[in-house]
C-alpha cells in the first residue's frame, strides 16, 4: 500500500517520536509513505485567526502539490493538520469567493479530489485485521484511555469522522492490538491546546481533569493522535502533579507507538524514550506480562 504523507511541522519537530513510530510501524505493515515534496506549514493554530485567506491558501498549496505529485490519498497524522486540510477542502468546495482568491494568491488552479486521512482512518485503511494478526506482545491486561481531543472529530459537518461527542474508532484500533479500551468521560474534552504557552495554568487545569478521569477509570496509558494533546498531557504532567499533589503519573503514547509496541518493534526506534513521562515502567510491565497501575 502507498500513501502520500504530509508530516507537518510538529512531526518534524516536537513530535519527532510520532513521525518515527508511524514510519516504523508502517514499514512493518508493508505500507509506503511518499512525503509531499516542498510541503509547507498548514497554518494550524494561528492562521485562521489571523487571516482567513491564508488559513485556506496554506493547506490548499499542499493539496495542490500532492495532486501534482500524483497522490490520491494523503496521511496527515497531526490532528491539527488533518483538520486544517479538511476545512480548507470544504471551504474551497463550497465558497467560490475564497477559492478564486486562493487561486489568485497561489497562481494555480485548485481542483478537488485528494482524500485526506488522519491517523485512525489510515489504520482503518490498512486493516485492523493486519494489526491484530501481527500483534506479538500480550496486551490483555493493558487498559487504554483513547483521547481524541477536539480537532479529530470536530466540526463534524466538515470532517464527517466518527461521532463528535462519543467517538469510538480509536477504541477499535486499540482493540486490534489486544489492549482493553476503557469507557471514560473525557475523550473529547479540551486539553487547553495552544494556551499552553500563554496561559499555562488553563492548560494545567484542563489537562489535569483529563488525566484524573483516565486514572479514575483504571487506565494504564492514554493514547493520543495529536501532537498538541500529547505535549499538553505529557509535558505539563509533571507540573500538574507538582501543583496538585497526590496524583499518579500516567504515560501518554501516540497511537502509532502503542501499535509499534504490540508489534514488538524496537522501543528506541519508536521514540518511546523521548517522552517527559517515563514510559519505561509501562514497557517493563508489559514484558513481565503484568501491568503496573
Amino acid at each position: 500500500m502507498n500513501f502520500g504523507y504530509y508530516p507537518g511541522c510538529s512531526l518534524s519537530g516536537t513530535a519527532k517520536e510520532f513521525d518515527l513510530s508511524l514510519k516504523e510501524v508502517l514499514k512493518y505493515l508493508d505500507t509506503d509513505l511518499q512525503e509531499i515534496n516542498d510541503w509547507c506549514c498548514c497554518g494550524a493554530s494561528s492562521a485562521h485567526s489571523a487571516s482567513h485567506l491564508l488559513s485556506v491558501a496554506l493547506p490548499a498549496r499542499n493539496l495542490i502539490l500532492a495532486k501534482e505529485q500524483g497522490m490520491k490519498e494523503i496521511v496527515a497524522p497531526c490532528a491539527a493538520c488533518f483538520n486544517r486540510l479538511k476545512v480548507a477542502q470544504h471551504e474551497l468546495k463550497t465558497d467560490d469567493h475564497i477559492r478564486i482568491n486562493t487561486e489568485e494568491l497561489l497562481d494555480t488552479k485548485y481542483s478537488d479530489g485528494i482524500n485526506v486521512l488522519n491517523l485512525i482512518s489510515l489504520f482503518q485503511q490498512i486493516g485492523l485485521e493486519k494489526i491484530k494478526s501481527n500483534a506479538k506482545v500480550d496486551f490483555s491486561k493493558l487498559n487504554v484511555a483513547c483521547y481524541y481531543g477536539c480537532l479529530l472529530v470536530r466540526p463534524h459537518d466538515i470532517l464527517k469522522f466518527d461521532d463528535p461527542e462519543n467517538p469510538t474508532t480509536m477504541e477499535e484500533v486499540v482493540k486490534a492490538t489486544g489492549a482493553k479500551p476503557v469507557d471514560w468521560n473525557f475523550k473529547v474534552e479540551c486539553c487547553g491546546a495552544a494556551h499552553s504557552i500563554a496561559h499555562t495554568e488553563i492548560v494545567e487545569n484542563l489537562s489535569m481533569k483529563i488525566l484524573d478521569d483516565a486514572i479514575n477509570y483504571k487506565a494504564n496509558v492514554i493514547v493520543v493522535a495529536c501532537p498538541m494533546c500529547h505535549s499538553n498531557l505529557d509535558m505539563r504532567q509533571k507540573n500538574i502533579i507538582k501543583h496538585n499533589p497526590g496524583r499518579n503519573k500516567i504515560p501518554i503514547l501516540y497511537l502509532s507507538q502503542l501499535i509499534g509496541l504490540s508489534l514488538g518493534l524496537d522501543h528506541k526506534k519508536l521514540g518511546l524514550d523521548l517522552h517527559f513521562i517515563d514510559t519505561a515502567p509501562l514497557i517493563a510491565s508489559l514484558s513481565e506480562n503484568e501491568v503496573a497501575v
Binding site: 463534524h156 464527517k160 461521532d163 463528535p164 461527542e165 469507557d183 468521560n185 474534552e189 478521569d213
Partner: protein, 669 residues
C-alpha cells in the same frame, strides 16, 4: 353565445382607480357580449337582481362579473346566475379589486388592465361548458386510527352522536402515551384515573368496534366512501374466547425475558403479556420472538392452563376490510431517543449527555414511569441504577427540540410544562431533595400554565437555571452536569444523582408511510399537515380525512382532546348529509383519442386514474384507456398537462379555455 358583463364599483374600492363605466362600454364591444353594465355594489341584493334581470331580458347564456376576487364572491354570483337559469359554471369573475384597483394608482393604466382582465375571461367563458356538481353517497361510519387520548375522544364523540366507529390501535391495548403518565399538568390529577374510564367506555360502547394490535394496511376510495384494509396482527390468543383472567400470563415460565415498552424499558415482562393491568382489551399477546414454544416447539404451558382454549399458536395475521365515510388520524407521537449515532439517522444525537450509557440519565417518559404509582418502583422516587432515592436531580429542557444542529428546529411545546411537573412531583416525594432545571425559555402559555410553573419555582423551590448543558459524565457514582448559567454568566457544575432529559416529541416512525397510504401531506419532520394552519386546522388536503392530536404537531392533552372533538365534529358534519356535492372541476378522458400510455396515472397524486377496457361487440378488448374516478380526482390538472395526446382534460380549466385567455391578453395593451 350571448354573454353579459357586469362591472362592480365596489363602492369606491374599484371605482376610485378603475373607470368602471368606460370598462363596461369597452366590454360591450367585445364579440359575443350582448349586455354590459356597471353598478355600485354588484354583490348586493339590487346588484344581483340586476344580473338576474339582464339574464332574463337579454336571454344571456354566460356571465362575466368584474369585481372582487373569485375567492370572495364566486359562490354569490354563481348562485345568483343559477337562480336565473344559467349553469353556475358559465359564470366567470374578473378580479378588478385585489388584482387591479387596490394595487394601482394610475387610473388610465388600471382601467386598461381592467378591460384586459375582463376580456380574457369573456374569451374563456365562451369555451365554458355547463357542469353538474358531482353527487356521491356518504357511508356514515368513521375510522379512527390510533387509540390514544385523541383517538378515544374522537371515537366516543362520533359514537355518542349515533354513528359507528372502527377504532384501530397498533399496540395490544388502547390508552397511548397518556396511560403511561403519572400525573398531569397543571392540576396534578392522576392520568390513569381520568383515562381508564374512557378506555372502558370505548370498549363497552355498542357503536365502537375496537380493533387492537392492528394496523391500517391500505386505504382506497374517497370522501364519504373509503374502503380500508386493516392488518390484524396475530396475537396467538383468540380474542373472542379470552376472558382476560390472566392465568396464562402468571404461568408463563420465562418471566423477565423482554423489556416492557409500557415501562419504557425500566421493567421486564414475560413472553406472554398484557402491556399493563388496566389494558383494554385485557387480552394477552404472545411475543413470538422470545416465547419458548416458538423457539423450541416445547412448553405450551399457557395453552394447558387456559380453560377457554383461547391460545392459538397457529394464528396468522388477518386482513379485514371496513367501509367508512370519514377517517380520523390520531396516531400521536413518540419521544426522541438520543443514543443514536450520527449518520445513522437524521438525528445527530447527544453523545455528551450519555443517554443509554448512564443508567440514571432518563428521558421524560421514563421519569413518568418512575413517578407513577403503577410503575416499576410503585411510585417511589428511586433511580434506575441502584434503586436509591436521588437527592439531587437535574432536568434538562429542549433536548432535541429548538436545536437545529442536533435535533429539530421546532419547539416541542409540552416540555416546559412536563418538566415543571416532574420537578414538582420529585419535590413532593423527596422533601429534602434538590431539583434543578436547565431551560432556554419557559413557554407556559395556557390556562393556569404559567401559574403552575411559578408554583414549582416559588412554592416547591425548584431551581431554574437559564442555560444549556454541555456535558454529563459519571464520577464516583455521581453524574456531573456541566452547564452554563447565562443569566449569571457563570459556568455551573452540579453533582447530580439523576438526570431527566426533556426529549422532544417527534413524529411516529411510520407516519410518512401512513401519510402516503392516506394521500395526505406531511411536513419535513413527518407530522401530518393540516389543510390550513388557521382556518382548517383539523382537515387534511384530502377530503374526508381529519387530524387529531400530536400526529399533527407537538400537543398536550387538553389541546389533543379539543382537536379530537373538532375532528369528530367535522366527521359528523359529513355524516349530516346523505349525499355529497362536489365542484365538478375534475379531469375527464376522451376515450376516442386516449392511446393508453397512462402517463396520467403516474403523475396523479390521488390514484384517481384507472384503466378501462374498451370492448367490441364480441366482447374482445380493443384497447385500454384511462378513466378518471371523479370521486377521487381533486382537480389539479397535472394529468392534463402531462397527456401527450391531450386526451384528458380538466373540466373548467380545459386547454381551450386557457388558450382563449392567452390569445386575448394583449389585444389592446
Amino acid at each position: 353565445m350571448r354573454i353579459g358583463v357586469f362591472i362592480c364599483h365596489c363602492g369606491e374600492n374599484i371605482g376610485r382607480t378603475v373607470d368602471c363605466p368606460s370598462v363596461a362600454s369597452a366590454c360591450a364591444n367585445f364579440s359575443g357580449v350582448v349586455h354590459a353594465e356597471d353598478y355600485k355594489y354588484m354583490c348586493s341584493d339590487p346588484g344581483q337582481n340586476l344580473i338576474k334581470q339582464a339574464i332574463k331580458e337579454k336571454n344571456l347564456d354566460a356571465v362575466v362579473v368584474g369585481s372582487c376576487s373569485p375567492h370572495m364572491h364566486e359562490k354569490t354570483f354563481r348562485k345568483a346566475c343559477s337562480d336565473a337559469g344559467i349553469n353556475p359554471f358559465l359564470v366567470e369573475m374578473a378580479n378588478l379589486r385585489e388584482h387591479c384597483s387596490w394595487i394601482h394608482d394610475d387610473v388610465p393604466s388600471a382601467t386598461r388592465k381592467a378591460i384586459d382582465l375582463v376580456r380574457m375571461l369573456v374569451e374563456k367563458v365562451k369555451f365554458n361548458e355547463p357542469l353538474i356538481p358531482i353527487r356521491v353517497p356518504v357511508t356514515k361510519r368513521a375510522l379512527v386510527i390510533g387509540g390514544g387520548i385523541s383517538g378515544i375522544q374522537a371515537s366516543l364523540d362520533i359514537a355518542n352522536a349515533g354513528y359507528e366507529v372502527v377504532l384501530v390501535e397498533k399496540e395490544p391495548s388502547i390508552g397511548g402515551h397518556m396511560s403511561q403518565l403519572s400525573e398531569t399538568f397543571p392540576t396534578l390529577d392522576c392520568s390513569q384515573c381520568i383515562l381508564t374510564p374512557r378506555m372502558v367506555e370505548v370498549y363497552q360502547h355498542p357503536r365502537i368496534k375496537l380493533v387492537s394490535y392492528s394496523e391500517v394496511e391500505n386505504v382506497e376510495g374517497f370522501i364519504g366512501n373509503f374502503s380500508v384494509t386493516i392488518r390484524k396482527k396475530a396475537r396467538s390468543v383468540k380474542d373472542e374466547l379470552c376472558t382476560g383472567c390472566g392465568l396464562c400470563v402468571q404461568k408463563c415460565p420465562i418471566k423477565k425475558v423482554a423489556l416492557s415498552d409500557f415501562d419504557e424499558g425500566l421493567a421486564t415482562r414475560p413472553a406472554m403479556y398484557v402491556p399493563f393491568p388496566q389494558a383494554v382489551p385485557n387480552i394477552p399477546v404472545i411475543d413470538r420472538s422470545v416465547c419458548t414454544y416458538f423457539k423450541t416447539g416445547k412448553c405450551q404451558l399457557c395453552k394447558k392452563v387456559c380453560g377457554r382454549e383461547a391460545i392459538d399458536f397457529e394464528q396468522q395475521d388477518q386482513l379485514i376490510k371496513e367501509d367508512v365515510g370519514a377517517i380520523i388520524v390520531a396516531t400521536g407521537y413518540k419521544l426522541y431517543t438520543i443514543d443514536k449515532k450520527p449518520d445513522e439517522s437524521m438525528i445527530k444525537g447527544y453523545g455528551e449527555y450519555g443517554y443509554g450509557k448512564f443508567k440514571d440519565v432518563v428521558d421524560g417518559l421514563q421519569f413518568e414511569r418512575i413517578a407513577s404509582a403503577s410503575g416499576p418502583t410503585s411510585g417511589e422516587m428511586l433511580r434506575p441504577s441502584d434503586k436509591t432515592t436521588p437527592k439531587k436531580i437535574v432536568f434538562i429542557q429542549c433536548v432535541g427540540s429548538r436545536d437545529e444542529s442536533k435535533g429539530f428546529s421546532y419547539c416541542s411545546k409540552i416540555c416546559c410544562m412536563y418538566t415543571a411537573k416532574h420537578a414538582m412531583l420529585y419535590k413532593h416525594k423527596v422533601h429534602d431533595g434538590e431539583a434543578y432545571v436547565f431551560y432556554m425559555d419557559i413557554r407556559a402559555g395556557g390556562k393556569n400554565y404559567d401559574e403552575f410553573v411559578r408554583r414549582a419555582i416559588e412554592e416547591d423551590g425548584v431551581k431554574y437555571i437559564r442555560g444549556r448543558v454541555s456535558k454529563i459524565y459519571e464520577e464516583n457514582g455521581k453524574l456531573i452536569v456541566k452547564g452554563e448559567d447565562t443569566l449569571a454568566g457563570v459556568r455551573v457544575e452540579i453533582d447530580a444523582d439523576m438526570v431527566v432529559l426533556a426529549t422532544a416529541m417527534i413524529a411516529q416512525n411510520d407516519s410518512v408511510k401512513l401519510a402516503q397510504t392516506l394521500s395526505v401531506s406531511y411536513d419535513k419532520y413527518g407530522f401530518f399537515n393540516e389543510s390550513h394552519p388557521k382556518l382548517k386546522p383539523v382537515e387534511t388536503s384530502t377530503g374526508g380525512i381529519f387530524l387529531a392530536g400530536a400526529c399533527n404537531a407537538p400537543r398536550d392533552i387538553p389541546d389533543s382532546v379539543s382537536m379530537a372533538s373538532a375532528a369528530a365534529a367535522k366527521a359528523l358534519v359529513l355524516f349530516g348529509s346523505d349525499v355529497l356535492e362536489r365542484e365538478p372541476v375534475v379531469a375527464k378522458v376522451n376515450e376516442a383519442t386516449c392511446a393508453g400510455c397512462f402517463y396520467c396515472q403516474k403523475v396523479c397524486a390521488y390514484n384517481a386514474i384507472e384503466q378501462k377496457e374498451i370492448k367490441d361487440r364480441q366482447g374482445n378488448v380493443i384497447k385500454v384507456v384511462a378513466y378518471v374516478n371523479s370521486g377521487l380526482c381533486q382537480g389539479c390538472g397535472t394529468c392534463n398537462a402531462t397527456c401527450p395526446s391531450k386526451s384528458v382534460e380538466l373540466l373548467g380549466f380545459k386547454d381551450d379555455q386557457i388558450y382563449a385567455q392567452i390569445n386575448s391578453f394583449a389585444e389592446v395593451f
